[in-house]
Symmetry: none
Subunit: 206 residues, 4 copies
DNA sequence: TATGAATGAGGCTTCATTCAT
DNA sequence: TATGAATGAAGCCTCATTCAT
């Protein structure tokens, strides 16, 4: 879907994202994932050394999707409200397009008081966390600037940031694709959420 | 916390909520829960017939907390914006006060394509879903009314509803209690989120 | 059924026999038995110190039923064929009347390579075995005598004995009571099996 | 014993039959079975998805043994008495040769009011029951024919059938192999039981 | 006598992982 | 690359039994 010619790794990744999404990453077994693409466990273990690394790959790809999407907006010079609106719109659109990946990510907001992990996997997780923070900071900057600016309401900036991000990720919790007009529907939702996000920060819409 | 003298069942429920919150309901084992209150597995199974039923009890109690909290506001006659603000504030405050329960709930937005469930557990889940919907409808009514009213922006009402609810539940993802001034902090957050929720619906905040 | 005023012990015994019969003595739990008479485990433990002792009581009662029934025929002086016929008829009738008990007994033909047993329970089992052997010997005597006698076919006496006993117990495997005419049906079966038993030993019937 | 080179599955099956026979299928644990062939539980679960399915496989094989053995006699045209004698002899011989399997079968005459069974296992059980009935019908036909014929005594045919079958299965309850002359002993028993079975039906034994 | 709470041992089952092929 | 067999650890659950009331 995202790759024109899905490589074996991408096929596995997509399958994993779907299984993790549907069953939860703890419940979905390697066998479930393998079965969903008509393969056996062995094939998966040839590409990913462990279930944890596969999960990390899914989460990493989720961040990559959004980071890539925002790349074009990063250098743009605009007023905070305009810039944030563009970022918000882009973010929502990306999330909806690659929903399974982001659903998996949202399962993992809990502090991973992981029961046991290898050194290698802790490194993967640290990298994900690092990129996630990088991404978050793109929003933090523009929001902080807008608050300082007077463009946004003078509220606690941390709460503002997190609330906006949750709002923009919320399709993860309730989005279901319509029978027809998928693309149009996505854009409508992205627009509405971008509007609501800006409004929640005190920007007068319309 | 909620019970002055926690009964055995409530003690187990609190422990379960905490373990499920920290480790995820799939990873946390009955032994983890038992150990956290110095009990044996047997004691837990004496009160709850299965892990699934324990999880359901936690989720049900979460809904009960919010439903009880809103009970006082149900009859109130106010303009949609005022009424929603009261509801929003109350909701956030309740969620923060009983955070572990709501963290568990939010883990379960995934459609429970559960691997296998007994008839009995499906019934429990249906009851939870029923009460959750009842609760959701309290918000739906006032939001729909406000949109019709012109008090709220004329946007897709379903998206508006779900977005507001996610916003009001967002502390689940990021709240950590401060060292001091806990109560004051809670109220500040509840106020800010209520403000943001109303603003996101297009209500001019003063 | 057997007791005009079922004492508490007898009520438990009957319930146990039924549960053991239906579920198997290993699968039926004390709770199952208690529940089937609307009681709790405690009541059963007041009358029987362990599940094993309860099972033994059921098996012992089964032997007692048949032993009591044959008591009247013990002293009788008749030709082997006639005596055996009377014994056979009486045995079958008794078995059908107290079927659950005998079904339980037949579950335990396997050498009880019991996984673990207390001294006390081994004693109970020894007593049962003792009385069972006593009962078996009543048949052995008359069959041996008949073989020596020429009344019965000159075949291996041990095989003859065991085969006849299995034959006479066979209702345990297939008997189901008719809608009407229960008593008459029982007698018909007892007669037919007695006939077949004698015939199998070479006695010309009719 | 039956397979010259026992496959992994057959080895497990034989081990299961022995354990189920000795301890009872409810008491014998998967660990018991695994241990008896120096394997791990995992190995068994790799080949059989559950204990129930393993038990079903044992029972199914038991029926297969007897069904295969009688295959040669099925087309034979003989008078009922002669045909039944051949069938009886063959049956007894087969049962003694594959005793553990048949001991397991005879433990399960109880209506499996099993506590809980999966759809899959109910299907297995239905198949077993189906083949068992097929086998039983081979005997039913010849017995019915003999009764109609006048070759066998004019008694209730259902009772006659079941009694004969129990008689022919009776070694399951009492057979123990002799120190020497095993094969000869088997044949002697098969002959005696065949004789007794025919006699029990009213056939004059020479 | 009887109950309800609690224990602890043991059984079934799942599953990530490894390995020989 | 991929498969199928096998392992071992861990989790859920049952149940005989004990005990305080």
């Amino acid at each position: 879907m995202q790759e024109t010619i899905p490589s074996s790794k991408t096929q596995i990744l997509d399958a994993a994202a779907n299984c993790f999404m549907n069953l939860g990453s703890d419940v979905a077994s390697i066998d479930d994932i393998a079965r969903s693409i008509g393969a056996t466990k062995g094939r998966i273990y040839h590409h990913y050394p462990s279930k944890g690394s596969l999960l990390s790959a899914v989460r990493m790809r989720a961040v990559a999707f959004t980071l890539d999407a925002l790349a074009t907006t990063v250098g743009v010079h605009k007023a905070p409200a305009d810039k944030l609106r563009l970022m918000a719109y882009t973010h929502v659109l990306t999330v909806i397009k690659t929903l399974p990946y982001h659903k998996v990510v949202l399962q993992h907001y809990r502090e991973n008081v992981a029961k046991s992990t290898t050194e290698y996997e802790r490194k993967l997780i640290a990298e994900i966390e690092d990129r996630r923070r990088t991404y978050e900071n793109l929003f933090r900057e523009v929001i902080d600037q807008g608050i300082k600016n007077g463009a946004f309401a003078d509220r606690d900036s941390s709460v503002s940031l997190h609330s906006v991000l949750i709002l923009l990720n919320s399709p993860v919790f309730w989005y279901t694709p319509p029978k027809t007009g998928v693309e149009q529907n996505r854009q409508a939702i992205a627009n509405q959420l971008a509007d609501m996000a800006l409004a929640s920060l005190g920007v007068e819409t319309i």
